[in-house]
């Protein structure tokens, strides 16, 4: 990141080719695409399949989720380190070079979801998705069509068959990363847009946004308030002039002059601007209004301009390169190293997060982002881990919000054994982290850092957490630890080794009561409980799980419990390269072999 290069200032022809090649990973896919179209050298470089290091770097850059805490930092102990999706791609396409793998990953991957259908969180409803088979829908008592029991392809942008697979770096709407909160999924595309599934990502719960009684400026509310206060005012005995709308506190709106709006004559449509901004800020996947693009508070400026359309122009939109989700919030990092947070049920627009008293993003950029249940955590270059669970509200005319942050002490080392290798977030600003020494797991909780005493073999390489689970990967084994209400159950430490010959779990996700594992061969394994037969294990209909395949049993009246990690059947010829889980739902990126 420190070598971050501004593409505008390079004169490419003047640079030696190895420098150009090392710069490549720092350019965005779009930069590369433009360069390869306009510059012969680049065109040659990128169209040669042999330049496989470049393509591997590019793959790592675009699909390696290197800016989230899904993956650890690279260290000298992990020179052979590859991200989950790279590992699986190597295993899936052993005979392809990285250029071909890159193309496969860009063009032939798709987003699949299963589990609870509430709030259309799966990105579709029981009737809206032609890919959903009726036999894969679970009906539970009065809640008919409650869940989907098999990984089901989410209606997405149509793959453009005419898209040139040889020259285009990556299709615009390729799914780069998925993450999931308690009520929805977030999807990052190769063009840097964030989409969110379903009708609510908060479920009505407060995230790490403004504190109680403080709230973000809402241009819609402000607009209505202004409109109403422009109505004629009344002279009320003892109270002077008051606005006549009645719905805003008198103190809040200082009455200006008595309006001379002529009653009875046609008024312009007062909601016109509101409607226009509504229209621009409500963008859905074509033919699927259950997946909505998420915008930022930058859009509020549209209320000040005449021409709303230009304001929503793509050129002005931030381009995201990483996302991470908590229970009712999510954050996104842009290619300009700006962080946005969607964290409040009262606003669908991401707030731009700033850190008072910290050095600028130019000298100290954010290298990784992560979300806990109800807080956010980032790793800032030369500062270390920074956590916050609330922020200041956005005020009118100012688009920034300031995080009420804390720096986790002793996490700023840039090199050596104490450099942070990976971190995982629980709840209430509780963070687990490991360093390149790979010997200790540190727990930061209530402002204190302690080390965990766990019976773990091998050098620590990676640590991940979900709402109910911590996974620890070492160079020898992998382990799981249960978490409930943010408290780690140390007695629950167990090995994650599968009984299946040659299969190793390399990535793990979990919802409230279920766990999803991904093996190095691209197979999905699930276990745990399907509450209310929501289908989140993806193993099939309840009758199939219990009586036919005998994979699990019923628990209580309506739950299905599967104890052993069980392989999820994917569509013929498909492999999984990324998983996510939250609440009562699961998601995966599948790729055609």
């Amino acid at each position: 990141m420190t070598e971050k290069t501004n593409p505008d200032t390079i004169n490419i022809e003047d640079l030696p080719s190895d420098i150009v090649q090392s710069t490549l990973p720092f350019l965005s896919p779009n930069d590369l695409k433009n360069l390869s179209l306009t510059n012969k050298y680049f065109h040659n470089l990128l169209s040669q399949d042999e330049s496989t290091t470049v393509w591997h770097e590019l793959f790592h850059k675009v699909f390696g989720t290197q800016h989230t805490n899904d993956e650890p930092f690279q260290s000298k102990n992990s020179e052979e380190y590859k991200s989950v999706s790279e590992t699986i791609c190597i295993n899936t396409y052993p005979d392809l070079n990285w250029h071909e793998r890159f193309r496969k990953r860009s063009h032939d991957s798709a987003f699949y979801t299963w589990g609870c259908l509430k709030h259309s969180r799966l990105g579709y409803t029981a009737n809206s998705n032609p890919n959903l088979l009726q036999s894969n829908i679970n009906n539970v008592g009065i809640s008919s069509k409650f869940g989907v029991n098999k990984p089901t392809k989410v209606p997405w942008f149509n793959n453009d068959p005419t898209a040139d697979r040889t020259t285009s770096i990556s299709p615009q709407n390729s799914v780069v990363q998925i993450s999931s909160g308690g009520f929805s999924f977030q999807i990052l595309t190769s063009s840097g847009k964030i989409y969110s599934t379903g009708s609510t990502f908060t479920g009505g719960h407060k995230g790490p946004g403004p504190l109680d009684l403080d709230h973000d400026y809402d241009p819609f509310r402000d607009f209505i308030s202004h409109m109403e206060s422009s109505f004629p005012r009344l002279r009320v005995p003892g109270r002077g002039l008051v606005n006549t709308t009645g719905s805003f506190n008198i103190q809040r709106i200082s009455p200006t002059t008595t309006s001379n709006a002529s009653i009875g004559e046609p008024h312009p449509n007062i909601y016109q601007k509101l409607e226009e901004i509504e229209k621009y800020s409500s963008q859905y996947i074509p033919n699927n209004d259950h997946i909505r693009r998420m915008f930022t508070s930058n859009c509020f400026a549209a209320f000040q301009v005449e021409d709303v359309a230009t304001f929503f122009d793509e050129k002005n939109a931030p381009k995201f390169i990483a996302i991470s989700s908590g229970r009712s919030h999510f954050i996104g990092l842009t290619d300009q190293n700006v962080l946005f947070s969607w964290d409040s049920p009262t606003s669908d627009f991401g707030a731009k997060i700033e850190f008072k008293d910290l050095p600028s993003r130019e000298t100290n950029p954010i290298l990784k982002i992560g979300c806990g249940w109800n807080f956010s955590c980032i790793y800032i270059y030369n500062i270390g881990l920074v956590v916050w669970s609330s922020r200041s509200s956005i005020q009118k005319g100012i688009t920034e919000s300031f995080a009420n942050y804390k720096i986790i002490p002793n996490t700023s080392e840039l090199s050596g054994d104490n450099k942070i290798l990976d971190f995982a977030c629980l709840q209430d600003n509780t963070v687990l982290y490991i360093t390149t020494s790979g010997k200790q797991i540190y727990l930061y909780k209530d402002g204190q850092t302690i080390t965990l005493d766990l019976d773990i073999k091998g050098r620590l390489l990676k640590i991940t957490s979900c709402f109910s689970l911590i996974t620890i990967f070492t160079d020898q084994h992998s382990y799981m630890l249960k978490v409930s209400n943010g408290t780690i159950d140390y007695t629950s430490l167990s090995s994650l080794d599968l009984d299946i010959q040659g299969e190793t779990i390399i990535s793990l996700a979990a919802g409230d009561y279920h766990t999803i594992g991904l093996s190095q061969r691209g197979n999905i394994y699930t276990w745990g409980t399907e509450s209310q037969q929501c289908g989140c294990l993806g193993l099939g209909a309840p009758e199939y799980i219990v009586t036919q395949a005998m994979l699990g049993e019923t628990e209580g009246r309506r739950n299905i419990k599967v104890l052993k990690p069980t392989k999820v059947e994917l569509e013929e010829g498909y492999k999984c390269i990324g998983i996510t889980g939250g609440g009562w739902h699961s998601g995966a990126i599948l790729i055609k072999k």
């Binding site: 509430k118 709030h119 259309s120 409803t125 029981a126 009737n127 809206s128 009065i142 008919s144 069509k145 009708s199 609510t200 908060t202 479920g203 009505g204 719960h205 009684l213 709230h215 809402d218 819609f220 509310r221 209505i224 308030s225 409109m227 109403e228 109505f231 004629p232 005012r233 009344l234 002279r235 009320v236 005995p237 109270r239 008051v242 006549t244 709308t245 009645g246 719905s247 805003f248 506190n249 008198i250 008595t258 309006s259 001379n260 709006a261 002529s262 009653i263 009875g264 004559e265 046609p266 008024h267 449509n269 007062i270 909601y271 509101l274 509504e278 209004d289 049920p345 009262t346 669908d348």
Partner: protein, 359 residues
């Protein structure tokens, strides 16, 4: 041939969607303004006929709101609120209304410095008198204005704890501009109110101008058991199935929808679709003073627009409304018997006439 108008008039009606502030007629507005020494804006019509004429021709929503908000400001004392509600009860007493669940917007008054107590006492006394004098049972549903900040709504819930707990306020609703203010903003408000009284009835305006997802989110997130308006539910057949299964009442307001340009004509209402899916709905007046009609006018407009509906269809619609009212089981049975007796009476009349003509 459509069923006779007299049959429609005779049907015992329940009103589920009527804003008390929206029943302020010019013939009450002017006397109240005078009594409370309130100077109306210079541009405001001076006489009852002039104002009545204005009410007949709102240009758009703003035009309506303009008058609506001015009207609200003449309500100051307990007796004003009492008289407002009584004026409404007198009108519907002539329209065979047997039960009314009434909305009021406390924030329209508390923001003007009128104590919550004044508003509630005035309305409540009218409800008691209406039951005594007209045998019309009624209850009050407090609405949150969704364009005010959820924190302010939460404060209102806290301020009205006493009335929510003791049942003086029988229901909680959510109204005003739907679109930029989705249901998930008000989860805290609704769950707090419900925590005060588990018998509190919950409803929300949804699916009038907002999408069908606002309807399902209101059910899932706010835990409401009724949807006000809700006509956009027909965009989602899955939702219709659910609404039918869970017997969620949609309180449809035909004349209001036309006046506010939600639809052009009453026959555009998707009522046949609702009937075919088995969705209970009722016909209501919303803001009768402003939208040119009380409940009976709404029934008659629908009667005219849907001439194919027979006695049993109408009987079913009315019974659906009764069965989804917030009243006791015995009361429901008693009212449904009444409806069935009326339907039987009219059907027998026809068969008698048929028999007589073929004798």
């Amino acid at each position: 041939m459509p069923v006779p108008v007299d049959f429609i008039k005779e049907l015992p009606k329940c009103e589920h969607h009527m804003h008390l502030e929206g029943s302020l007629e010019p013939d009450l507005l002017f006397p109240l303004a005078r009594r409370n020494n309130i100077t109306l804006p210079d541009t405001f019509p001076k006489t009852i006929p002039q104002l009545n004429a204005k009410y007949k021709q709102f240009k758009d929503l703003q035009d309506f709101l303009d008058y609506y908000y001015i009207g609200t400001n003449v309500l100051i004392n307990e007796i004003d609120f009492f008289e407002l509600a009584m004026a409404y009860f007198k009108k519907i007493n002539k329209q065979n209304v047997i039960h009314a669940e009434l909305f009021f917007d406390p924030q329209s008054h508390t923001s003007r410095g009128i104590p919550l107590e004044t508003v509630i006492k005035g309305f409540k006394k009218a409800c008691t008198k209406a039951e005594r004098d007209f045998k019309i049972t009624s209850s009050l549903t407090m609405c949150l204005l969704r364009h005010t900040h959820p924190d302010e709504c939460l404060q209102l819930i806290k301020d009205s704890k006493k009335y929510l707990t003791d049942g003086t306020i029988n229901g909680l609703g959510l109204d005003s501009a739907e679109k930029p203010f989705p249901p998930d903003m008000f989860v805290e408000c609704f769950s707090l109110a419900k925590s005060y009284n588990k018998h509190l009835n919950l409803t929300a305006h949804a699916g009038e101008e907002g999408p069908a997802s606002y309807v399902s989110d209101s059910l899932d997130l706010l835990q409401v058991t009724r949807i006000d308006h809700g006509i956009n539910s027909v965009q989602d057949t899955e939702l219709l199935e659910r609404l039918a299964k869970e017997k969620v009442l949609l309180t449809v307001c035909p004349l209001s929808n036309v006046k506010l340009n939600v639809i052009k004509k009453v026959d555009e209402l998707p009522l046949d679709i609702l009937l075919s899916y088995g969705n209970p709905f009722s016909l209501n007046s919303d803001d009768p003073a402003y939208f040119g009609g009380y409940i009976e006018d709404n029934y008659l407009a629908v009667h005219k627009a849907f001439p194919n509906w027979g006695y049993f269809t109408w009987g079913q619609i009315v019974k659906n409304g009764i069965n989804t009212s917030w009243i006791s089981k015995t009361k429901k049975e008693e009212l449904c018997d009444k409806v069935e007796a009326i339907v039987a009476k009219w059907v027998n009349k026809i068969s008698d006439a048929y028999a007589a003509s073929h004798a």
